[in-house]
């Protein structure tokens, strides 16, 4: 018995309390366990029809690219109708809470991995680096998308504007703060930059991030911040690692959801939360009219009734990941803004030649000074329901040249959302204000 006691006492120093009470559960303690957490494609990538996805959808639901007939809107739950009509005040329901909670769940997984990685030896192996880079990337990816919904557009007041409630640890008992918008973006960029050093050039699965994905994400972030030079440079770094693009001529048009999942031009695969827009929204004349008849996207993106069928996740949800096409568009826009019209045209045409009916494709015949607005229009055509349209609205509305007022018609009344409006930022669910006291947004 003394031996038992001695063994137990020695054992106390390590492991005695670490064996889990219920042996049916596993304590994550190996690199493989961490990788398995990151490879949970349901939580991290939202790769399922029924489950929730990690990217908030409130913004995309609020653009005027899609609309609903009046009788459908009448059957909407109150909050959905309020959001559809850009009502400043709205009450939370389960959908608005999920738009907040599900992204933070992905953040929690990342934080669990980052917290536990510190305990694993040896550190900094290839496998450990990949896991760490993955966790940092996911956390940054989610925060970036949350910032497009729950923080004001990035602008000159970023230092004083409120950012996001940021959780950098997995312990649910620890309090957390809501730093400024500038700090929020700084943390996001730091995470991605660190991830870009740790991740491999090309991932084993497209549900995992890579260097190419990290650069693409940096490009998106800098674009939103208006740092066009950095955005363009990162887009080109990403293209250098992965320049594959999907030729829409090769896509089978007879399929209900024609776009193949994990196709060639996908750099990183992730889904947005499903919403009624995804299933029942009808494309607006405004958007549909932007496509030329020989633009393959016109039939590959939209069903004859006007429903969106062009998600890169096929029928399983709305794709919110990264593609070569988006990289090309960022490169084109930033090059144009920097005055490098040759580079801008080259990237834009690379995309266009894969989007038009093969023998009907013609290069653009427009002046340099019209190029930027054409690129911006191309972004709206290409990146439908990926979260980009919403963040582009927030970004471009600050420039009167590209600002756009949105309209909706409902019940014989016309509703509008002015370019500069507090309705471009959503309310934080009231549940979060208790008990941590997160300050609420103005709307």
């Amino acid at each position: 018995m003394l031996i038992f006691l001695l063994v137990a006492l020695v054992g106390c120093s390590k492991g005695f309390f670490e064996e889990i009470n219920n042996n049916g559960l596993v304590v994550p303690e190996t690199i493989e366990d961490m990788q398995a957490l990151m490879d949970n494609t349901v939580v991290m990538n939202g790769a399922t029809v029924s489950g929730g996805a990690p990217l908030p959808m409130l913004g995309e639901s609020s653009t005027d690219d899609f609309y609903f007939p009046d009788d459908r809107v009448n059957r909407f739950q109150q909050v959905l109708r309020d959001l559809y009509l850009w009502t400043p005040e709205y009450m939370d329901d389960e959908q608005t809470v999920l738009n907040w909670m599900l992204p933070y769940k992905t953040v929690m997984y990342s934080n669990i991995v980052l917290d536990n990685l510190k305990k694993i030896v040896p550190q900094h192996t290839v496998a450990a680096n990949n896991v760490e880079g993955t966790a940092l990337f996911f956390r940054a990816y989610i925060y970036f998308h949350l910032a497009q919904i729950y923080a004001v557009p990035y602008g000159p007041n970023a230092v004083s504007d409120l950012g996001l409630p940021i959780r950098m640890t997995s312990d649910i008992s620890l309090p957390f703060t809501r730093p400024s918008l500038a700090e929020t973006y700084k943390m996001i960029i730091e995470d991605v930059e660190k991830a870009s050093e740790l991740l491999p050039n090309i991932p084993l699965y497209k549900t995992r991030p890579s260097k190419a994905a990290a650069y693409a994400l940096l490009a998106k972030i800098h674009l939103v911040m208006g740092a066009y030079e950095k955005a363009g440079a990162n887009a080109r770094r990403s293209i250098a690692l992965n320049n594959k693009i999907l030729d829409f001529n090769a896509v089978d048009k007879k399929v209900e959801y024609p776009m193949p999942v994990l196709n060639d031009e996908v750099i990183f695969h992730i889904n947005m939360i499903n919403s009624v827009v995804n299933w029942e929204g009808i494309v607006s004349e405004d958007l549909y009219g932007l496509y030329q008849d020989n633009d393959l996207r016109k039939q590959l993106y939209f069903s004859p009734k006007g429903a969106f069928i062009g998600s890169y996740s096929a029928g399983t949800g709305l794709f919110g990941g990264l593609t070569t096409a988006e990289n090309l568009l960022i490169d084109a826009e930033c090059s144009a803004r920097e005055g490098d019209y040759v580079q801008a045209r080259q990237s834009l045409e690379r995309l266009r030649m894969n989007r038009f009916v093969k023998d009907q494709y013609k290069t653009l015949d427009i002046a340099d000074n019209q190029l930027l607005s054409e690129i911006i229009s191309e972004r709206r055509r290409e990146l439908v329901l990926r979260g980009v349209t919403w963040s582009d609205l927030r970004r471009l509305n600050q420039d009167p040249k590209y600002a756009r007022t949105m309209y909706r018609d409902f019940g014989g009344k016309r509703y509008e959302l002015k370019p500069i409006s507090s309705c471009y930022t959503f309310l934080i669910p009231t549940e979060t204000q208790y008990p941590t006291g997160t300050p609420q947004n103005k709307r």
Partner: protein, 1054 residues
């Protein structure tokens, strides 16, 4: 002179007929009166005479040779507490030095109450203990609260300590015959030494041990208890005639039509079947009404009582030998019990052997070793519903209808409808399916399936005590405990249960070939569980008096504990005992059920679970006593466990206590004749309660969608601050003894605050916790409750005559509790309309509450129930039920706030009679009543049917709503939850009576018998007074209750 002394002596004999005079030099054996006369009168060899009598101090008189007469004056005895030491499991301390709150049940009390369950020994004897149900059953560990409930959702049961070590097993394996004493630790000073597991109080059980220099004593116990069959007639069940009228009404309204025309029709009662025949013209009206009228006279309870229940018999035997010398002390015992339960075919037995030995290894070293083997076997009829009236299932959610017949008048067993309609079953049988008829008595007496549950315990508890110098001792304890539970359910191939299962899965091919995916044969289900617990402890004790006035008592130790539970279950189809054959089955295919009710897999009974709980603790306490009058004590304990969060483990914050004690009666200035004892005690401290929460991250493993890579899901998010629930206790105690302790006892007041209570609670969704319905909850330390109360124990010696004595013991407790903080609180009224024993915490109320919808009586127009909505009488039931909680009528707690017992003991010579009254006040319950819709679907109805509203004016005499069809479900829910059904639960009951007769030792001497005690014991004697005017049993309102039990026993010592 002679004359006077003789008269005095004579007088003594008259008033003290039970005076025992012992003559020295004769080995202390008592002598009779006549011998004494001879001795005193004549011989002069006698030197010493010892006089002893009940109620008086013994007195020894030395007789001078020359002395012929003597006067003996016996001094009335000052009664003292029987046991003067209490055990905390770590230390045994003299009662006069403890500051904490202890309650003790000693051996003489334990020996008198003949009960299989050792915990029944606490019932009505210890203030502050409230058993959930006052009648403790023999085979189940009874639920109890010490000083009320200290938690909301976590374990609320006390920690049990057996011979110094935590006992993790089944407490009912312990036999009362082996028990020396039970100490209940109630306050922080007493229990905080047990740290994070002591929050619900601690019950310390000590087994008997041999004494030094004690000659071997053999003791034999035996008892036989009898309880008659349960009384089913008191159950409030609808009469057969009423039920038939109800069914006829429903039949005429077409209620059964869709059930009858379905291709796979559900079973119907004989009345409905008769009405169908009548409607189809297969029988005439006269035949139908004569059939139905015959059924009106039948009460199923007659058959049930006759065939499903039997008289209960409990036999108990025990033998033990104890003794000791300077080198060895021992206590060896063997016990065997056999119970025949009141449900037929249910029986159980219990066997245990125990060896408690202590070896003196030299002057300084002592080895004590307790070894126990015990086994309990329960054999029950399977399915267990077959011998239970209230749960007797007839398939498809139906129960025994009021006029069901189990046997014909000639005794032939009858079949009953079960599951599917007989016509459907007959056609299935024609196709080649197994016999599908259900004949209950065949199931019980012929094709008997049984479930045998055997639990075996091995316990080895050695300890080493080393006393290097006076006052210092080092103790090392170890305990290995293994409990193996083995449950075997053999489902007989001919039983309805098995035939029904095989038939449900039977597949009929297009060509009419029947195949059975479940093989025709027995089904054997096994479940094996094993619990292994190891505990080790090293401890140093120091106890010394410094000078004469200072006494120091200190202890320091550490302890490590591991408890592993492994459980696996298995199922074997087509089992045959001969050759141990079983047949493999296809668990993968989903089979369509034969009755087309859906499809399913063959039940897969293979499962495994395993848990490991580990604790590492260190602790110490210190007590200082000055002049024997003033004591101060302090204790602290640090627990670390794999149950807690990392932070809790690292922080090492001890649970601690402090206490003080003042013996006022020992003060020089306090000298009063009539006060023998007056002491003040007070303690303050913390103990804890471990919940089920896990503070570390856990994951489950599977494969990822889209990539098929290994995937992990977080099951338990990290919550490093997750900690045990904390119980703060403040205790004041007053111990007193007046009039030579003829009136003695203690009065205590306590206040508790239970913080960090674990509960599922809303959490900020920013943490990422939550489910897809948008609800973010987690298990956290989120609630606070408070409690306070008074415990009073009063012992009185009312009459103390030599021949006759009357003593009383009063146990009185008050306990109030209140929820102070709770984060996720529901606001709608219906959340709080729960059955009597479920918990829905509401701030400002006790943990268990009785609420009712405000009742506005029945509507005189239509007899529908009415409540209040916004202050107006209303029948908008769903609005009333969803109104804010404040609209409810609050009655009070569902658990008694004032409770206790009164024990009276009468002694007349060698005969003593004790009777225990138990009482509880201050709580409420909801009685049962009729739900028409449920009666239609379940065939079980309530007698209130007869009292229902039938015409205007009835609302003055009854609250039972009218019967309307179609049924109004909301009206029923409202009525069942309304205050019309709330009753007071207060009662006074005669708990038990025991009668002992000790045969005079001098009569036994010639047989070599030291003592013989004959005992009678009667329990469950029922209520003397009930607060509710309907005479409803608050605990068994409409369920079968335990019957009066009569026990005869003897105790023989050689």
């Amino acid at each position: 002179m002679f004359c006077r002394k003789a008269i005095i002596l004579l007088f003594l004999f008259i008033i003290l007929p039970f005076l025992i005079i012992t003559v020295s030099g004769q080995e202390g054996s008592p002598v009779s009166k006549s011998e004494i006369i001879d001795n005193v009168g004549g011989r002069d060899t006698v030197k010493n005479l010892e006089f002893s009598a009940i109620g008086y101090e013994n007195r020894t008189i030395r007789i001078q040779d020359s002395e012929k007469y003597l006067t003996v004056q016996l001094v009335p005895k000052v009664y003292s507490l029987e046991e003067t030491t209490v055990s905390t499991g770590y230390q045994i301390k003299p009662r006069e030095r403890v500051t904490g709150s202890f309650e003790l049940v000693g051996r003489s009390q334990i020996d008198r109450r003949i009960h299989q369950n050792v915990l029944e020994q606490l019932n009505g004897r210890v203030a502050s203990i409230r058993f959930d149900v006052p009648n403790v059953s023999s085979n189940v560990t009874p639920k109890m609260n010490i000083r009320g409930r200290n938690t909301i959702f976590s374990n609320d049961q006390p920690l049990y300590i057996l011979d110094n070590m935590a006992y993790d097993g089944d407490i009912t394996l312990i036999n009362s015959n082996d028990i020396e004493s039970i100490t209940v630790l109630k306050d922080a000073a007493a229990s905080s030494i047990w740290g994070a597991r002591a929050g619900n109080g601690v019950v310390v059980i000590r087994t008997k041990a041999g004494k030094e220099n004690d000659r071997p004593t053999v003791s034999f116990n035996s008892s036989l208890a009898y309880a008659p069959k349960p009384d089913l007639s008191r159950l409030k069940r609808i009469s057969s005639s009423d039920f038939i009228d109800f069914e006829t009404m429903l039949f005429n309204k077409g209620y059964y039509d869709s059930q009858l025309t379905r291709p796979y029709p559900v079973a119907q009662t004989p009345v409905v079947e008769t009405l169908v025949l009548l409607r189809n013209g297969l029988i005439d009206a006269q035949t139908a009404s004569s059939r139905i009228d015959r059924l009106r006279t039948i009460d199923v309870r007659d058959d049930v009582e006759r065939y499903l229940y039997t008289n209960k018999l409990v036999q108990q035997y025990g033998i033990n030998i104890r003794g000791g010398n300077s080198a060895l002390r021992y206590f060896l015992s063997a016990n065997y019990d056999h119970n025949k339960e009141d449900k037929v075919k249910n029986s159980n037995n219990r066997f245990s052997i125990r060896s408690n030995t202590s070896y003196q290894l030299g002057k300084k070293l002592e080895l004590t070793s307790n070894t126990v083997f015990s086994q309990k076997t329960l054999t029950n009829l399977y399915p267990s519903t077959l011998n239970d009236l209230t749960s007797f299932s007839l398939g498809s959610g139906k129960f025994l209808y009021p006029y069901a017949e189990l046997a014909a008048e000639d005794g032939a067993y009858l079949s009953l409808p079960n599951g599917l309609r007989d016509t459907f079953k007959e056609s299935a049988m024609e196709k080649g399916l197994l016999d599908w008829t259900f004949t209950p008595l065949d199931e019980i007496y012929h094709n008997t399936s049984s479930a045998t549950n055997k639990s075996t315990e091995y316990l080895f508890n050695p300890s080493l005590l080393y006393r290097p110098i006076e006052g210092v001792s080092l103790v090392a304890n170890y305990q290995y405990q293994k409990q193996v539970g083995n449950q075997q359910t053999l489902r007989d191939r001919n039983s309805y249960d098995v035939r029904n299962l095989i038939n449900r899965f039977a597949q009929v091919s297009a060509t009419g070939v029947v195949s059975f995916p479940i093989p025709v044969g027995h089904i054997l289900q096994t479940e094996a569980g094993e619990q292994r617990s190891q505990q080790g402890r090293v401890q140093a004790n120091f106890e010394r008096s410094v000078a004469t006035n200072h006494h120091i008592d200190a202890m320091l130790g550490m302890e490590v504990r591991e408890n592993r539970i492994i459980d696996h279950s298995n199922i074997a189809y087509g089992y045959a005992e001969r050759g141990l054959v079983s047949v493999p089955v296809d668990y993968v295919t989903r089979y369509k059920y034969y009755d087309a009710s859906g499809s399913g897999n063959i039940p897969y009974g293979v499962g495994m679970t395993s848990t490991t709980t580990r604790f590492f603790s260190y602790f110490g306490n210190l007590a200082y006593t000055f002049k024997g009058r003033y004591s101060l004590s302090g204790s602290a304990r640090v627990d670390q466990s794999n149950l807690f969060g990392v932070k809790t483990n690292n922080r090492k914050v001890p649970l601690w206590s402090m206490g003080g004690l003042w013996h006022i009666h020992q003060e020089d200035w306090f000298k009063t004749d009539w006060i023998d004892k007056l002491s003040l005690r007070s303690t303050f401290g913390y103990s804890g309660n471990v919940g089920d929460a896990v503070g570390i991250t856990t994951i489950t493993l599977s494969n990822a969608y889209l990539t098929n890579a290994a995937r992990a899901d977080v099951q338990n998010p990290p919550n490093e601050s997750l900690r045990w629930e904390k119980n703060r206790l403040l205790n004041f105690g007053l111990d007193f003894g007046f009039l030579k302790n003829r009136l003695s006892g203690s009065l205590e007041y306590y206040a508790k605050r239970n913080t960090d209570l674990l509960s599922n609670s809303d959490i900020d969704p920013t943490t990422g916790l939550g489910n897809l319905s948008g609800k973010s909850v987690f298990l956290g330390n989120v609630a606070t409750t408070t409690g306070n109360g008074v415990d009073l124990t009063l012992n009185t010696v009312n009459i103390r005559q030599p021949k006759f004595a009357w003593e009383s013991a009063i146990v009185f407790s008050v306990n109030h509790s209140k929820v102070q903080e709770y984060y996720s609180q529901s606001t709608t009224a219906q959340s709080y309309i729960n059955s009597n024993n479920s918990v829905t915490p509401l701030i400002g109320y006790p943990v268990y509450t009785v609420f009712g919808y405000q009742w506005a009586g029945l509507d005189p127009e239509n007899g529908m129930p009415r409540g209040y909505l916004d202050g107006e009488i209303s029948n908008e039931y769903s609005k009333i039920m969803n109104a804010p909680v404040g609209t409810l009528a609050y009655y009070g707690p569902a658990k008694a706030t004032v409770f206790g017992a009164l024990t009276n003991t009468l002694r007349y010579g060698d005969l003593s009679l004790t009777f225990n009254l138990g009482y509880r006040f201050g709580s409420y319950f909801k009685r049962s009543s009729i739900s028409y819709a449920m009666m239609a679907t379940s065939w079980a109805g309530h007698a209130d049917y007869a009292d229902r509203w039938q015409q205007s004016g009835d609302e003055k005499r009854t609250d039972v709503p009218a019967l309307v069809y179609p049924f109004n479900g909301n009206a029923t829910s409202f009525y069942i939850g309304s205050s019309a059904l709330v009753e007071k639960a207060d009662y006074i009951a005669l708990h038990d009576v025991y009668l002992d007769y000790s045969v005079r030792p001098e009569l036994l001497k010639r047989y070599g018998i030291k003592s013989l005690v004959l005992k009678g014991y009667v329990s469950n004697l029922g209520y003397l007074w009930l607060a509710n005017s309907r005479g409803l049993d608050p605990f068994y309102e409409n369920t079968v209750r335990p019957q009066k039990s009569f026990t005869l026993g003897l105790n023989l010592t050689f």
